[in-house]
Each structure stands twice: as C-alpha cells, then as structure tokens.
C-alpha cells in the first residue's frame, strides 16, 4: 500500500515544541541571574508558576475533552514568563493563582494555543496587580536571601516616576548606578532585573530565527526616542528608562508572543511603535510608575485591525486593479 498525502512532501524541521524549547533556553540566563540576586525564593516561585501552568493546562484540556497539549511546552513558557513578571517575595499561592488565570481563563477558554487574543502571562500579571496591589509591589533588595522576611525597597521605576513629576532630579532620586541597572543589581520583578541576561536571550532567539527583531527594536527604540526628547536630550534619564521596569523583558519575550502580535512585517513595526508610545505615555504622564504590561495588552487587542491594515501586497495585484478600472 502506498501512502498518499498533499504536497509538499518535504517539510522543515521546525516544530512548535522546538520553538518553545528555544524560548525556554533563552529565558534561562535571566532565571539564573534572578536566583543569583533573590535566592532560592525566586526559583521556588518560578517552579510553582510553571508547575501550576502545566497542571492547569492538562486538567482544563481534560475537562474540555480536548487532546492533551502539554507536550508543546507552551504552558511551561507561560509559567516561566509569568513568574518573571512577579516580585520574588510574592506568596507562592498568588503565583499559582496567576498561572491558573493565565492558562485556564485567558488561554484555554479561548480555544488553546494560537487562539488567545491577549498575552496570558501579562493578563495574569495585571489581574494579580489589581487584586494584590501591595504584595505585587513590594520589591526585595537583591542579596537578602532569607526565605520569608526579605527587606523591601522602592523599585527604580517608582523613583523615576518622582523624576518625571519633577520632585527630584536623576541624581537625587536615589537610583542604583547604571552599571547596577545593566547587571540587574536592583529591585524589581524577579525576571526583569538583569538587562544583560535578557538581551542575551533575545539575541539567541533572533539568531535561531524564533523571533524577528522588528518588534523589540521598534518597542525599545520608540521608548528611547520618546524619553530622550521628553527629558530634553538627557542620556542618563533615557538609559534609566530603557533599563528600568519590565521594558526589555516585555519587548523581547512578551510583545513578540506569536499569537498576540501581528504576522505581517509592517504590522510588527506598528505594533512595536505603538507599544513603545503607550509605555512612554503611561510612565511619564500616568499615575502608575510602569506601563509595559498595559501597553502590550492594549496593542494585543488591536492586532486583528493592524493585520488587516498591513496585509502584504499580493504579487501582481496592482496590475489587476488598473485593468479593472480600464474595463
């Protein structure tokens, strides 16, 4: 018996699982650095988020009588990225709750992988943020490794917000030095602190052709240009804005989420610039110190429209239109 199937009879070696595995590998440097700064508490939070994400994907698929999809590793990626968005001091059950929201409510209830219209990890972070505002904004000081009573401090973004309001200058605001910001020796969500590790992960993803560099470059570039102009060409302030908050984590790992970003080339440009603008406006004029997650979720909602506006030109399409006009 011969097998018949539709062409093509050759296929690339890419698989969904392979892509997700690449993302996990790219996330590992940032995870290692956050464990280095915040101790085993960070690893425990990451493990709880990831474990709960995988378990809730398995259970929700089972309850909905759909096939089991934990093998594609997307739930693992969601769990790790969610934990990266949380302060390392967060009670573990809140992290687990976030994973359940991300996987069950945002992802599986909309049809599973590829169907959710907003990024699951960001939505879970925003829900946790509005539910447990104080726990979600008590940042541990790096290298206070005790498991329960960590010393907390203000995040650089909150200090920068004071600068934006005009109540302090960049020098007076008590910010960590720029090299500390680059290496991640600062308060913040457990995965967002180490800029070097995040950029290394981003370069790996671009080199492996998992993500295109368009969205991260447009996102970070827009924030950079905006802050540079806003501060009256103050390079130090701009550098703090670029390294602070979840900008790099958001731009490299969350705005590039396949399902919730445009597929078209120009759509990616619009998406990145839009994310950058909303982030900048929230940071400078809003009452919140940080705007990356809100900017990404707002742009996520616009993705179908952006894609409609930026459909690639079909080969030969213009000629057909001219002929139609003549006829």
């Amino acid at each position: 018996m011969l097998k018949v199937s539709s062409s093509p009879h050759a296929k690339s070696k890419d698989t969904t699982t392979g892509i997700m595995l690449d993302v996990i590998i790219a996330l590992i440097p940032a995870l290692v650095m956050s464990v280095f700064y915040f101790g085993m508490r960070a690893l425990a939070l990451c493990a709880v988020c990831t474990g709960t994400a995988v378990l809730s994907e398995y259970i929700s698929r089972k309850v909905m009588k759909r096939n089991n999809t934990i093998g594609d590793l997307s739930a693992v990626v969601t769990g790790i990225i969610l934990s990266f968005n949380l302060p390392s001091t967060l009670p573990l059950w809140m992290g687990a709750l976030g994973s359940v929201i991300a996987i069950v409510v945002v992802k599986q209830m909309f049809g599973g992988i590829g169907q959710n219209f907003v990024n699951p990890a960001i939505t879970a972070r925003i829900i946790l943020m509005s539910s447990f505002a104080s726990s979600m904004s008590s940042w541990a000081v790096p290298f206070t490794k005790s498991f329960s009573d960590a010393v907390t401090t203000a995040s650089p973004m909150a200090l920068l917000a004071n600068v934006c309001k005009g109540s302090a200058t960049v020098e007076q605001a008590g910010l960590p030095s720029l090299s500390q910001m680059l290496l991640g020796m600062r308060a913040g969500s457990m995965g967002e602190v180490c800029a070097v590790a995040l950029i290394a992960g981003g370069i790996y993803l671009v080199a492996r052709k998992v993500i295109s560099p368009v969205i991260p470059v447009c996102f970070v570039g827009t924030v950079g240009v905006f802050m540079f102009l806003y501060s009256g060409f103050d390079i130090t302030f701009t550098a703090y804005q670029l390294l602070g908050g979840g900008l790099l984590l958001g731009a490299i790992f969350m705005a590039t989420d396949y399902t919730t970003s445009p597929m078209t080339k120009w759509g990616k440009v619009i998406f990145g610039v839009g994310c950058g603008l909303i982030t900048s406006v929230i940071r400078v004029f809003g009452s919140l110190p940080e705007g990356v997650s809100y900017s990404i979720i707002l742009m996520n909602i616009l993705v179908p429209h952006i894609e409609n506006l930026t459909r690639p030109k079909v080969f030969g399409q213009v000629k057909e239109k001219k002929e139609a006009k003549q006829a």
Binding site: S7, G112, M263
Partner: protein, 155 residues
Amino acid sequence: MSRSVTVDGSAVKNPMNVRVPVGIRIQDIIDFCGGYAYDPIKIIAGGPMMGRAIYDTDAPMLKSNNALLAFAEDIAYKTSRDCIRCGKCVAACPMGLMPTNIAKYASNKDVEKLAKSNVMACMECGCCAFSCPSAQPLVQYMSLAKQLLREEGKK
C-alpha cells in the same frame, strides 16, 4: 513526444535520469531503473514540493512531471498541531498571501472572506506548508479554498 525525468528516492535501485515518452506507465520506468531496492512507502510523480503522491504505479507519466520519486520511508512526516500564528507561512509566500488566514477561512467555509483573500493567486508551491512548525496541511487548505470559490461562482 518525450521528456527527461529524474528517477530517484531511497526505494529505487538505480537512480538515474531517463528520457521517456509522455504517457508511459510509471511501473515501466521503475522497472527500467532496476525496480525497487526496498518496498516503497510513498511514490511521488513530480518533485518533493509540488509533486503528487500516487497510489498506483499503473498511472501514466504526465507531460508536466519532471521527476519520479519513490521512498522507502515516509519522508517529512510531522504530527499536525494547532496554528500558533508564527507568521512563517506569511513570510514564505512568494505571492504575498496570508496562508494561515486562508486555511482558517477554508475550514470555516467562509466564502465571503475567501473571495477577498486572493487565494486564486496561489500556485501551490508548498513553501507555506514546508515552513509551518505546526505541520498544518496548508496546501490542501489552499486547494479546498479554490474549490469552495469555484463552487460559489457556479451558483
């Protein structure tokens, strides 16, 4: 009327280029090339990207077939998963189409959206399905989409 045909694949005993009359029985070409080295699992009339898998070697060789491939293993078999909207098919399409959207419209039988999708420009080169990490049968969806549009046109 004859044309050159490449006979190749892991199941063929002596792979070679042969000049055959158009319409010759495929089994005759394979016999000329020494028959099978292994039992064939898949035989393709044409190249790996656009050729058609045949189920019977009594079929004739067509004028458009430039190759005859016989494989002892099921090449490039991948389990199909849900689309993750990675956009690799959009980047791969030489005609500037959006294959994953067309596939979605075709499976929903959404003729209205198909009519606007320019699917008729698709030449079924197979680049979209080649690059798809979720192994969606995109070319099959393209054919289905064209069929749906033709049926709609007949009404």
